[in-house]
């Protein structure tokens, strides 16, 4: 397992994506799967930093670990921001996504891309920490 600690700040997003990209390449993911995973991790991390920490007046860090086994790569993001299960948030329906932009609201696209992009998504809250788990098949 490889573990890296990032400050909960938007400045850290680029470094976080770079770390996830290195793990994806080491795990032999295709470039497309690598990009989808980096995008999904970026979206989850952005939510944690802005809603979990900054808007809640909290500060803290974002602990990211990568676990590889013969069948999958798991990226786990742990934070001590306010509890938030991304699965609880409504994402746009396909019907909504078909409409012209003028007739649409903008919310929920980030989590929609997370759920579409990874092979499995899990969330746990334990010991006052959020754990977001993003899994890609190798």
């Amino acid at each position: 397992m490889t573990r890296r600690v990032f400050a909960a700040h938007l400045d850290e997003l680029a470094g976080l994506r770079q770390f996830v990209g290195e793990m994806a390449r080491q795990a032999g993911l295709s470039p497309e799967a690598d990009y989808r995973l980096r995008l999904a991790v970026d979206e989850i991390a952005t939510n944690i930093i802005t809603h979990g920490y900054e808007e809640a007046g909290r500060s803290g860090d974002l602990v990211v670990s990568a676990e590889v086994d013969p069948s999958e790569l798991r990226i786990v993001l742990e934070d001590s921001g306010i509890p938030f299960d991304p699965r609880s948030r409504a994402v746009p329906s396909r019907d909504q996504l078909e409409r012209p932009l003028e007739e649409r609201a903008i919310g929920g696209l980030g989590l929609y891309m997370v759920m579409e992009g990874v092979d499995r998504f899990d969330y746990e809250y334990a010991g006052e920490r959020n754990r977001n788990i993003l899994v890609m098949r190798r």
Partner: protein, 110 residues
Amino acid sequence: MEIQVQAQGSLTVVVLTGEIDGKTAPEVQSRLLPLAENGRKLVLDMQKVTFLSSAGLRVLFLLNRAASSGSGKIFLTGLVPELRDTMSVTGFLKCFQLFDSQEQAVEALR
């Protein structure tokens, strides 16, 4: 994030270089929104944009709204496959007129 703005006749051409995420999107928004509001045709050269999160989609959403409320229009050029994929799954792709390159857009629109 690098943002180069050039006036080319009736067009405004913007060359974007870098990654558009939650950190850089506000800067892109504040530079480009006034350009979309002034009713000119706005060509966004995206060839050197290597990453676009939902924060970047939100900027495109706002640019489109600003342009369509006036007489302006947004054109996108040079989307890399990853961005094209993101815009396709979110239904954004069909809402913008696309060109393969900045040169093609300028040729067609001027």
